[in-house]
């Protein structure tokens, strides 16, 4: 698992991020100068979290507490992903490397890393995050600087790139693994409930996503526990 292989695998994510963060740049440029908008992307590397954060910043009544709570709930899924990724990394992926590379745990980079057949090395993971990071930062920069020129028709279309990438990650697994199909359908049903059931409409978007994912994944784990296909032989000798 080389650095260069990671860079190569990260290219599609980087391209997708460029398109998505372009629309973030446009949104941010409405009330922040372009260096400030770009710096948000460089320090956060999140999609939904940044969009929510931007809304709180733009809101004159927005508070730091609100920012902390919203960020926490919207991005809490990264903790789940970090736990999941920690099960998949190579033994020499040490504490210092983890502190350095933790920022790379995004929906797509994480999904790509854990879908690898081999344990993930620090080199590979670092390579994997290079182009997405550059794409995300430079896309924001371009969006903030020149986005005003483009009509809403084009920026709306670019904004959908993010969801297209999500679909491209989820659908192949749904096709290959029936229990994942069921878990995903449960998550979607739950997500619709938060959108349309009046009693649940007060729940924030970030919190709704977490509840949907928890419920669907818990049901999946309870009824369709996965096989140890990704477990390397070094573990099986010890016995579970």
């Amino acid at each position: 698992m080389k650095f260069s292989k990671g860079v190569q695998d990260g290219l599609p994510i980087g391209l997708g991020y460029f398109a998505v963060s372009f629309s973030f740049g446009i949104a941010g440029s409405r009330f922040l100068s372009w260096p400030l908008v770009t710096f948000i992307s460089m320090t956060n590397l999140t999609s939904a979290g940044q969009f929510a954060g931007l809304q709180i910043m733009a809101d004159a009544a927005g508070t730091f507490i609100e920012m902390a709570i919203a960020t926490f709930f919207i991005n809490l899924r990264y903790s789940l992903m970090a736990i999941s990724l920690s099960q998949k990394v190579a033994p020499n992926f040490g504490t210092f490397k983890r502190l350095l590379l933790a920022t790379g745990i995004t929906d797509e980079i994480y999904a790509l890393a854990v879908s690898q057949p081999e344990p993930v090395t620090a080199r590979y993971f670092a390579g994997l995050m290079v182009l997405p990071y550059i794409g995300w930062s430079s896309g924001t920069l371009c969006g903030a600087v020149c986005g005003e020129i483009l009509p809403a028709l084009v920026t709306n279309a670019l904004g959908v790139a993010l969801y297209g990438m999500f679909v491209a990650i989820v659908v192949p697994q749904m096709k290959a693994h029936r229990p994942t199909l069921i878990a995903v359908l449960i998550a979607i049903a739950c997500s619709f409930a938060f959108k349309f059931v009046p009693a649940l409409s007060g729940v924030t978007v970030g919190f709704a996503i977490i509840i949907c994912a928890l419920v669907a994944s818990l049901i999946g784990a309870a009824f369709f526990p996965v096989k140890d296909e990704n477990e390397e032989c070094e573990q099986s000798k010890e016995g579970a």
Binding site: I13, F31, T71, L76, D107, V154, N156, A168, M174
Partner: protein, 105 residues
């Protein structure tokens, strides 16, 4: 908004996000033994992404129609074996096409 407020907001946002990623990543060094929790974690990425995408994609464009078309087109493209960029492009072009046609009508 003044620069000081911006810096504080940014610090809170970036700080919380980093800690959410780094703390569990650093603390968990061994393998989780429980098959249940390993299964749970295997499902998490897909259920998270699904919940983030549906129904949000329907509200991300000019009309629910273009959002729905983008979702269907993306699923079909993915089933046909297109990769990350291919599917994203299909979704973008679909929205552009549907919204474009609706503007003309």
């Amino acid at each position: 908004m003044n620069l000081r407020d911006y810096c504080l907001f940014l610090l809170v946002m970036a700080g919380v996000t980093y800690l959410l990623r780094a703390v569990p990543f650093v603390l968990l060094k061994g393998k989780i033994k429980s098959r249940f929790w390993r299964s749970f974690l295997a499902y998490v990425p897909y259920t998270v992404l699904a919940a983030m995408t549906v129904p949000a994609i329907l509200y991300s464009t000019n009309s629910m129609l273009s959002g729905a078309c983008a979702l269907v087109a993306a699923v079909i493209a993915s089933l046909l074996g297109r990769g990350l960029v291919g599917v994203a492009v299909v979704a973008c072009v679909t929205v552009l096409g549907v919204d474009g046609i609706m503007l003309l009508l």
